[in-house]
Symmetry: C2
Subunit: 342 residues, 2 copies
């Protein structure tokens, strides 16, 4: 979407996250230094204005939109969204639906952010629930693994929708022409895998996607395919395993290098090791892939720099035209599969 | 099983593996220096005797048992085991069945080794297919993850049998009194997980095992439980991911430390990093857990030192009385669950 202002309007849930609204505002002020970005903070207007005024000389492009309520961790999302009609996450998401904003960013409870996106924006046709794309290891830069999130019980059609989502994502956000796609399995040959993978294989083969077969666990890092598809249970376990692994290896390495390298050199190596194994923590925001609109969710414990980077992530999503392309590509895949069947 | 000789008799498939029989024999000679171990090499007797004679002064406790055939990589296991009745893996496994050996070790095709174990030794009652227990990261020493192998499509009863297997393994092989058990899932709270995990939860809770609830991906490394249970698809993907990850991080670290540390210090750190992330490669052999007899399978590409360590692994399994305890413990768990139902 392009605006007459030439700016991408990002609605930010100012009351979402453990450090809201202070760290949200700080991160938003930083993000709004980008001339392409116009931030709209959604929350109690008076408070927000007062806090914003502390940033003397800050970019004045930040606007505030009032929302008198917000959702707390632990409240049942679906229910509370119906009760708190003026919750900041709901107001911000509705701005996207009404075309008043191009994307919404929230560090509020993930369940609530996802529920708001589903309720207000809905899903792209052919996708059932939002998928999370992850890059478990930062060494592999041109590859994503999905789903790493919400879809813990999948059917073959779900996996196929992840493949299409991943293909569009890698094309649009990573600039890769004809992304390769693989199914995560326990062996590289066709016929290896659990029932889900075996049933999905022919669907992938006939989809018109650039399917190259199965990938194994180690192929996630070697980057055998640009898009590696798995159910959300496996993906989530892998992503968290990688985070835990990175932290442990980090401690181990810190101890190993103690007394062998100057402090600053050791710290730099360890910091880099952390960042390549905890990619989600570094990025800040994760787009809800498959939602019919741009929504970026964040960890509740995020601080200002992560809000800046999540707002940038939202900008990139909007600029790339991801949602529009996904709609087109899903129609094309369905048509292709129909042709094979007919 | 104890022998009048006081030795554990380990039947080794001398023709299994990419470097058979030379590396097998070399590894067996080394292993037989242990006064508790008596190795029986199974293969073409004449060839084996000739090759053994090169080890002058080697321990004479090594015996040879003739087998005129062997199974090659790529041959369909079930079929070929019916055709090649004198295949080394079959002859060696039958020795265990007949009580002529306490355990069998093979680096032949895994499918054939597993099929021979199933066909000749059978499974312990209540276990359907052999499970593989893995320690993905060597930092966590008192914990295993299973199944990492053959059971890619699981029912709740399968997961429960892995929990019992893991409990007995950790008790008997790691000397831990009352091992804690967790279900691998996408959230720590009850009710989080895919359908399989959710259905398994009450079964685990009522099993009489020391069940502490769900574990997440990062808990595998932090060692939240001594036994972490998952389906064989997830476990296999995790184990291979970890191996690939370890290799990549190793290369990354090697480059980072170049010119900063003396060569030997760098090599030592990198070697250690490899060994803690490629635990299967370091151990050499993996016992087929749930088989009604001791069978240890190995990577086809194993060299002599891994044969030594796999033979030692077989000795430890026999000495621990794992199979006998597993039979007892499974009966107990069934009784416990029956009481809950009644």
């Amino acid at each position: 979407m392009t605006r007459s202002s030439g700016r991408f309007i990002i609605a930010v849930d100012a009351m979402g996250g453990d450090y809201a609204p202070d760290e949200v505002i700080k991160g938003a002020v930083e993000a709004s230094r980008d001339s392409e970005i116009e931030v709209v903070l959604v929350g109690p207007e008076e408070t927000l204005h007062k806090k914003l005024s502390q940033y003397k000389g800050a970019d004045t492009s930040i606007r505030c939109v009032n929302a008198s309520e917000y959702i707390q961790e632990g409240e049942p999302p679906a229910l509370v969204l119906r009760q708190k009609r003026d919750a900041s996450i709901l107001v911000a998401t509705k701005m996207v639906k009404k075309g008043e904003a191009d994307a919404v960013v929230s560090a509020g409870p993930t369940g609530a952010a996802v529920a708001a996106a589903l309720m207000v924006l809905g899903m792209v046709e052919g996708v059932e629930r939002p998928a999370f794309g992850g890059t478990p290891v930062g060494i592999t830069r041109d590859s994503i693994l999905l789903d790493c999130g919400g879809n813990v019980d999948c059917k073959p059609e779900h996996l196929l929708s992840f493949a299409v989502i991943g293909t569009v994502y890698v094309k649009k956000l990573m600039g890769i022409e004809n992304p390769t796609v693989a199914l995560l399995s326990v062996g590289s040959e066709e016929g290896k895998g659990n029932a889900l993978v075996k049933e999905s294989y022919p669907l992938f083969r006939d989809s018109g996607l650039n399917f190259i077969g199965n990938a194994e666990g180690n192929d996630i890092i070697s980057g055998k395919a640009n898009v590696i598809v798995c159910d959300g249970f496996t993906g989530n376990v892998l992503l968290k395993f990688c985070e835990g692994f990175g932290s442990s290896i980090n401690q181990w390495l810190r101890a190993k290098l103690a007394g062998k390298l100057p402090h600053d050199e050791r710290d730099e190596i360890c910091r880099e090791l952390f960042s390549i194994t905890n990619t989600a923590d570094m990025i800040g925001g994760v787009p809800l892939l498959g939602v019919n609109g741009n929504a970026v969710v964040m960890h509740g414990r995020s601080r200002a720099p992560l809000f800046t980077s999540a707002i940038n992530c939202a900008r990139d999503m909007v600029r790339s035209g991801f949602v529009e392309s996904l709609n087109t590509e899903l129609i094309q895949t369905r048509r292709q599969l129909k042709n094979v069947v007919d």
